[in-house]
């Protein structure tokens, strides 16, 4: 039998109610050690609530959760020794220097002076904070603030780090650098729990879950999610239609028999089509609507497609249960 201490996070039937409002509704998932777990969902859907429940900040209304085998309900202190947390606004003390911020967090975790020095050296090397050690953290740019915050969160060598929208509002280069760093660290066995709104970031995760208004509606590797029957029903395939007249084309595509769904993506349309409709047929049909098509090519569903399809399905199921 598999024991839960093989897992970095084991959440079983988590429920959190605020009065009559159920913010988290029967959410279960497991995160393996060393994974980069992407936790997605619209704002207000319960992402932060789940983080607060897992870090012992918010009592569970029902359910169980353990972090590296430590029960969150019985030993929240033990959990906090083993995790790091970086909030979306980086939560640094602007009037303290980079070194002082690091030293403060080191002392909170009770690192000995010698150990603190070692860890600070290691982190400064890893994050490239060297030139900024004596600068007030308020004067750093967004990207550097984020790296310092990450440094503070991992000073005590946590085995699991929660990153709540780590890349919100920082420039693309810093975003790329952060992900490179995350990959490197996860190679050393550190587990990451990352919430994000960026689909390209979700694509980089080794494991993603999607929470929609308190309900977990997707959970798996990006590859398995793409192959879900709900996303890719048997007897269908996906195409990308490139045309100069996307908005007009969308209306027409939706009228063609055998097209199950269609959405605009930039200068193209993504459509889910029955196997028996071949691309040439599609091109001809559109030409009859006076739409010139530059290219039609098969396409694997993106994670965004996955979440869109699953959200539709979930909404339909809810409508049905209400009716």
């Amino acid at each position: 039998m598999e024991t839960s201490d093989q897992l970095a996070i084991h959440a079983q039937h988590l429920v959190r109610r605020f009065g009559t409002f159920t913010a988290v509704d029967d959410v279960s998932f497991r995160v393996e050690k060393g994974e980069i777990f992407g936790f997605l969902g619209p704002n207000g859907s319960g992402k932060t609530t789940v983080i607060k429940m897992l870090t012992g900040l918010l009592p569970l209304t029902a359910g169980e959760a353990s972090i590296y085998g430590i029960d969150v309900r019985h030993d929240p202190e033990g959990v906090r020794e083993n995790i790091g947390y970086m909030s979306q606004n980086f939560s640094l003390y602007g009037d303290l220097t980079v070194a002082e911020n690091l030293r403060f967090y080191g002392r909170i975790y009770g690192l000995s002076p010698e150990r603190l020095r070692q860890r600070m050296d290691a982190i400064v090397q890893l994050n490239g904070l060297g030139p900024y050690l004596n600068r007030l953290s308020a004067q750093l740019s967004g990207g550097w603030k984020q790296r310092l915050a990450l440094g503070c969160a991992m000073l005590h060598e946590p085995r699991l780090i929660f990153l709540d929208e780590p890349t919100a509002g920082i420039d693309p280069v810093a975003r790329r650098l952060l992900w490179d760093l995350l990959f490197e660290l996860s190679g050393h066995g550190i587990t990451f729990f990352v919430t994000t709104h960026y689909m390209d970031e979700a694509e980089r995760c080794s494991h993603v879950a999607y929470i929609y208004y308190g309900k977990l509606i997707a959970d798996g590797t990006p590859e398995t999610l793409r192959e879900l029957p709900d996303v890719q029903p048997p007897g269908t395939y996906r195409v990308e239609i490139t045309t100069p007249h996307v908005t007009r084309a969308l209306r027409s595509v939706r009228t063609i028999a055998g097209v199950r769904s269609a959405t605009i993506f930039g200068q193209s349309i993504h459509a889910l089509i029955d196997d028996h409709v071949d691309p040439e047929h599609l091109r001809k049909e559109l030409l009859e609507h006076e739409i010139v098509v530059a290219e039609i090519r098969p396409l694997a569903p993106s994670l965004e497609d996955v979440f869109v399809e699953l959200t539709y399905k979930h909404q339909a199921a809810q409508e049905a249960s209400r009716g």
Partner: protein
């Protein structure tokens, strides 16, 4: 196994840095109470002297002039103007130029010469109770004295004349110097500036920055956090107390009859309770502005229900009981006790204990709030 003060050292380190970085705020917090002390210490005299007095002397003869000389010599009255009608007398009082009006009737000297009772009208403006009280006391005393002199002849000098001779002696502040009375009490109010006010911001600032949430994901315990925040300000508050006491002694010349060391030591529980109150305010407030307002709420009770201005014993029952919940009540008893009355540990340990208990209670309430509420923010 779990250390309830976990994180104390780290928070103390960080708070000390905050204080050092924001030196301007600290400087003003320290200097403003001293400035206030100078204003109040030099500007306020609780003794009533030289009350502006208008005189209508309708008699004008020697006896009436004698009486006026006695009034003038009392130091309580300053004759502002002589007038020649009732109307002028009234006008000067109504306009506020004079607080007291004295009318000596036409037949004053005649009545005295014929061994009859002569009346003198004393009009007193009652709009300021301390002035009115003093005017009544002094005029009555002069009247009595003048009567006795006339009845007994001129041999009442010395103590031979009276059957009962009351000899009041004011202990501890024999000259009734205002700063002696005023400044020891003021210390309690001034200290609030660097205690309750500074800590009132300390937690709410972290709430606004979002760093509090971050701290709660670490193993820091609420008590470690609160005490770590409190201790640097305890040092600042103590420093301020030393400045105030030094200025009081050497600039205002207030003699300290008791032990300065005991005063310093007993100020610690008061500073502690004021800081804890600030911390509690900070844990309740949702923004720095609301923390500021709540901190201001603590000032008025510290002035009016602590015995600083009005004696606690004469308050209505309800407010008298209320005054026991005002920390300044205890500290004013301590400062006046040590500075004016030369009181020692045996007289004051109860006050110190009460302050310490209040401070601990407030801190525990603040810590409990962290367990339940703040996390949700």
């Amino acid at each position: 196994m779990v250390n309830p003060f976990r994180g104390f050292g780290a928070v103390f380190y960080k708070e000390t840095l905050h204080v050092r970085r924001d030196f301007a705020t600290l400087f003003f917090s320290l200097i403003i109470p001293i400035l206030q002390m100078f204003l109040l210490g030099f500007g306020i005299d609780t003794n009533v002297r030289q009350i502006n007095t208008v005189v209508y002397n309708a008699d004008g003869r020697e006896q009436s002039r004698e009486l006026l000389d006695r009034l003038r010599n009392s130091d309580t009255f300053h004759i502002y103007r002589f007038v020649h009608s009732d109307r002028e007398l009234n006008d000067l009082i109504i306009s506020g130029k004079c607080r007291v009006g004295i009318k000596i009737p036409v037949d004053y000297s005649d009545k005295l010469l014929h061994q009859m009772s002569a009346q003198v009208l004393v009009l007193i403006d009652g709009s300021d109770s301390s002035v009115a009280g003093q005017a009544i006391n002094v005029t009555t005393a002069i009247g009595l004295d003048e009567s006795l002199r006339r009845v007994l002849g001129n041999n009442i000098e010395g103590n031979s004349g009276f059957a009962v001779d009351m000899r009041p002696k004011i202990l501890f502040n024999p000259d009734s110097r205002s700063p002696n009375f005023f400044l020891p009490g003021l210390t309690a109010v001034l200290l609030l500036n660097v205690t309750t006010f500074l800590t009132a911001f300390s937690i709410v600032r972290e709430k606004e920055r979002g760093t509090l949430e971050q701290l709660f994901v670490t193993p820091v315990r609420p008590m470690g956090l609160l005490l770590g925040k409190l201790l640097p300000y305890l040092v600042i508050g103590f420093f301020e107390l030393c400045m105030i006491v030094t200025a009081m002694r050497f600039i205002f010349g207030v003699p300290i009859h008791g032990s300065v060391l005991l005063l310093a030591f007993l100020s610690l529980p008061y500073i502690f309770v004021s800081l804890s109150l600030g911390i509690l305010i900070s844990s309740k407030a949702t923004s720095q502005a609301s923390a500021m307002q709540l901190a201001f709420l603590t000032i008025l009770p510290s002035i009016f229900f602590s015995g600083y201005i009005f004696p606690r014993e004469t308050m209505p029952k309800f407010f008298y009981v209320l005054s026991y919940f005002v920390p300044a009540s205890y500290f004013i008893n301590i400062t006046r006790g040590i500075i004016l009355r030369g009181a020692g540990w045996s007289h004051l340990w109860m006050d110190a204990l009460a302050l310490f208990a209040m401070g601990s209670l407030l801190l525990v309430i603040a810590a409990r709030r962290f367990h339940n509420k703040v996390i949700m923010a």
